[in-house]
């Protein structure tokens, strides 16, 4: 097996790339490469993963300049030049090596009122939500987000406006706006309107282009823009 030259980010924001040679294997993923380095070449390498099968959203990194989920990214697909460069996600503070601090990313989900607020209690009967209902289909289109942060890292508006809630948080808010069982709608629409919210989106569609689950946060954000217009025109504080 030939060796792959791998450049790996080491240290914090002011760190540097360190080079390793890693044996190539068939169907090898970028996460396999990083794991090989940590287990066999340098046990001090910090990185984050859990499920290894594209469910948990914890292993996202910047691979050859592009944010990706590393557990489902084959080396063949991204290292055509024979060099692999792995860095932490951009638009987030670096903790160490390949670990980005996801704190602000998830705080923004809370700011966008991404929490389900029930209308019923356990004493009530089940809500009937038809799968072919238009609102339910809108919610279904965005519901498979795994919270990996790839869209947040890919977004230009996040880079330009540090208060911007970002594609994932707004996508989450849109799924709840379309949830007939939720009671927090007015508060949620207020939270996602304005400069830090959906109206800052320039529809560059980087989030949609990079989302490993092939969701379209851009579509969700467009939905939020429509949903908040009536509030702006009504004279109420949206």
């Amino acid at each position: 097996m030939s060796a792959l030259r791998v450049r790996v980010w080491r240290g914090g924001a002011d760190g540097r790339f360190q080079e390793f040679d890693v044996p190539r294997h068939e169907s090898q993923t970028v996460l396999d490469v990083v794991t090989h380095i940590q287990r066999h070449l340098d046990p001090t390498l910090a990185y984050r993963f859990a499920c290894r099968v594209g469910m948990c959203g914890s292993c996202a990194m910047t691979v050859n300049g592009t944010p990706r989920w590393t557990c489902r990214t084959h080396v063949d697909k991204v290292a055509g030049s024979g060099v692999l460069e792995v860095a932490p996600l951009t638009n987030l503070p670096v903790v160490r090596d390949l670990v980005a601090d996801m704190g602000e990313f998830f705080d923004k989900w809370a700011k966008a009122r991404g929490q389900f607020k029930p209308t019923r209690t356990r004493g009530d009967d089940f809500a009937v939500v038809r799968p072919d209902d238009a609102a339910r289909q809108e919610a279904d289109a965005g519901i498979e987000c795994i919270g990996c942060g790839v869209c947040y890292s890919a977004c230009d508006v996040v880079k330009w406006n540090r208060d911007y809630l970002g594609p994932a948080a707004l996508n989450r808010a849109w799924t709840l706006v379309n949830d007939a069982r939720d009671a927090g709608q007015a508060e949620r629409l207020r939270a996602v309107a304005g400069d830090a919210g959906c109206h800052s989106c320039h529809t560059h569609m980087s989030c949609t282009e990079h989302c490993p689950k092939e969701l379209s946060p851009t579509r969700s954000i467009a939905g939020l823009k429509r949903a908040t217009i009536s509030l702006a025109l009504s004279g109420e504080e949206p």
Binding site: W160, N161, D195, G197, I229, L231, A232, L233, E237, P238
Partner: protein
């Protein structure tokens, strides 16, 4: 700035874009029509002088362009230069008013009999 203000600016930006799209189409169509037999100042002024319709059309065009331009520059200044807050708001309002004044002056110059 309040969320309501931000959302209203966003709506104004989209609404003026719709107006501008229509105005630009009419404007380009008139240019193509007007130059078919050569272009002279006399011919243009003959069409616009004393015309309430052209006066209103270009006044609306200018108003939409000044509004759209000022809101757009405000966003560009915030995102690319980090220029935000009260000083930015006043600067962009001033730019919008200057654009409006220059545009309306030009409209007046070709429409006034």
């Amino acid at each position: 700035m309040s969320r309501r203000f931000e959302v209203r600016l966003w709506v104004a930006q989209r609404a003026t874009a719709v107006v501008l799209a229509a105005c630009v189409v009419v404007h380009l169509a008139v240019i193509i029509y007007a130059v078919r037999g050569g272009l002279t100042a006399a011919e243009i002024l003959g069409r616009t002088r004393g015309s309430v319709a052209w006066g209103v059309f270009y006044a609306v065009f200018v108003l939409a362009a000044a509004t759209h331009g000022a809101i757009g520059l405000r966003t560009v200044a915030a995102e690319w230069l980090g220029f935000r807050g009260r000083a930015a708001e006043w600067t962009m309002a001033a730019i919008g008013l200057v654009l409006l004044a220059l545009g309306l002056r030009a409209v007046f110059a070709v429409v006034a009999a």
